[in-house]
Symmetry: C2
């Protein structure tokens, strides 16, 4: 099938851009001497994961036990579940731990004590750190808590300490390479003090994973392993942060034009919250939007239509803002291509990828009971 024959909202994947993004990040990790454990929550596809494996990558990161099960069933046997362990899923962790090498995060003594009563297979534990993101994890100077966790891990029959982990999600508030680097200077400084304290612990290592930092930072010392996810597609949010340009974004949502309201500078499209999710971005000039418009070409798209954006979305409707000179290029029945605000959430909703080469990749796991 051809791009021209699409009739309803469709997630299109440019395989060349995607593979270039993979190549660029694997190369950077290799050059910096960093282990690479990419996060698969962005694409959630075993098919796309194979493109990463072809670059020599053998370990991955996921965000749920369910996702770990999916990738374990597709030949991934070294998986980090980068989520504070959910002790209610201990049985599923035991099943996984019997088959593959599995790691989870801990930062709570309470959770670890409960886990120790339930785990009966080898499981790797990383202590989660909060380096400024304030979502989860311990601060590097909470030595009492870290020591208590280390003691409990050591005394647990099936536990293995595999190092420290932090998601430096506060880089998402940055709006330039300089700001991301400033955050990384702070992070690496915190981690150096952590290393001075705990480098002697068997299993000590540091993993960090956020696309802005992994893309833009140059100095990773003392980090040993990186686990970014979004870099494989990028999105409008990453453009706003400064991690990439529109040319690096590997996915767009193709949406049919169903109405024109030129008096309001609006096109109405089939494309809403069930396709994009409702991540809202704020540009430097204050414009709030749910994504930006790509310029369609014969074989895909290139760059951004200046001044255009997805202005509002409801469940299935989208309202696109166009400047006067561009709106007249579009007609009812055309397809517009939209760089999503947040490609992870968009891919999770769309589930299937239609490639610029006309292939359908439809193997992503569903999020359900």
């Amino acid at each position: 099938m051809d791009l021209k024959n699409l009739n309803s909202p469709t997630l299109i994947l440019d395989v060349d851009i995607c593979k270039l993004n993979i190549k660029r990040m694997t190369t950077k990790a290799r050059k910096k001497g960093l282990k690479f454990r990419p996060h698969f929550k962005t694409h959630q596809s075993a098919h796309i994961a194979e493109w990463i494996r072809q670059e020599g990558v053998e370990s991955c990161t996921v965000s749920s036990v369910k996702m770990a099960g999916y990738f374990a069933s597709h030949g991934w046997n070294d998986i980090l579940i980068a989520f504070p362990v959910n002790i209610r899923e201990a049985e599923k962790l035991n099943e996984l731990g019997n088959k593959i090498k599995i790691q989870v995060l801990v930062y709570s003594v309470e959770a670890l004590k409960l886990l120790s009563q339930k785990v009966d297979t080898p499981i790797g534990l990383k202590i989660e750190l909060d380096l400024g993101n304030h979502r989860s994890g311990l601060e590097v100077n909470q030595h009492d808590e870290i020591n208590e966790l280390l003691r409990l891990i050591e005394s647990g029959t099936n536990f293995e300490f595999t190092g420290f982990y932090a998601h430096a999600g506060h880089t998402y508030a940055a709006r330039s390479k300089a700001e991301v680097i400033e955050i990384y200077d702070d992070i690496t400084s915190q981690l150096k003090s952590l290393k001075a304290q705990y480098a002697h612990e068997p299993g000590f290592s540091i993993t960090i994973g956020d696309t802005p930092g992994c893309t833009l930072a140059e100095d990773f010392e003392p980090i040993e392993e990186i686990s970014p996810g979004n870099f494989i597609f990028y999105d409008s949010m990453q453009v706003n942060i400064g991690s990439c340009s529109f040319e690096d974004i590997a996915v767009v949502v193709a949406c049919p034009v169903v109405g024109k309201n030129p008096d309001r500078n609006e096109l109405l499209i089939h494309g809403g919250a069930v396709h994009f999710s409702k991540e809202i971005l704020k540009d430097e000039d204050g414009t709030e939007h749910f994504g930006k418009l790509a310029i369609p070409t014969e074989s895909g798209w290139e760059g951004q239509f200046p001044g255009t954006y997805l202005k509002a979305i409801s469940q299935e409707h989208g309202i696109v803002h166009f400047p006067n000179d561009i709106i007249n290029r579009f007609h009812i029945g055309d397809m517009v291509y939209i760089y999503p605000a947040h490609s992870c959430l968009t891919a999770n909703l769309m589930k299937s990828y239609f490639t610029t080469g006309g292939e359908v990749i439809a193997d992503g796991p569903a999020i359900s009971i």
Copy 2:
């Protein structure tokens, strides 16, 4: 299975509340002499649709051709696709039109002309009106455009004019019954002038559908048919509008507690944007949140924990705010119940329902290519 055995994020449906919501709206429609064509985009489940059919309802509303196909295959043979017709899907409309009674919306002369070249089965057309929502549709006084549409419908071989349709989505900005009624006073006034102009047209009727209005308004004249959807579950958004109380909300998302940060008054849960979507609400006091916490009971939940809310979400993480006196009631490994901000988007993501009676309803259609 029992509620107590849930281990991962799960959408729980209280069947009694849901059936009461159905009963209440069908009764109201009957008492007001309104035809009832409920919107199925909220539940997207043929199983739940049967509960509505049991109340004597035979026609429904959907938001996409795909959803129409799903419900057509489950015995619904009178479906309104309440979306401006996507001419790229004309072939699918023809397939549907051969099997069941189908209606779509039009408000663009351009779209209708294109449609007339492609449709080869009987299709009902409602002219979409914009009564103040400013998403799509014509204003009631755009007589030239309305007349042109009527002329084109009349001259189309397979077209049948079936009336006017409006989604009064601007009621979602209301924050009290009085405000909703004020909007409905304005809407019905506009529609009376429309009726004065077009009542003589064969097929004339008026359909309107928004849960705040259909729940709270008392005077519907000259509306003949209503098509609300969200009322079947309601949600935190509808509480903010004033359409319902927390006791009327039929769904919660059960989320495992994976961390406690009492110094920040936060619980960390497994429950994020892939479960809730990212609809954000603003309370009267300025608090922004993604949902409110329900008080769990032996058999389900009742009412709201005052002062609690889902403060932040990322892909799979949720941060719940709790006042000091409540946070200590929760422990790692507990489940918290959250009334979603927007139940339509949450149900669309979760796909499956786990009922308070322990039944799994897993027949909702996926949104994909």
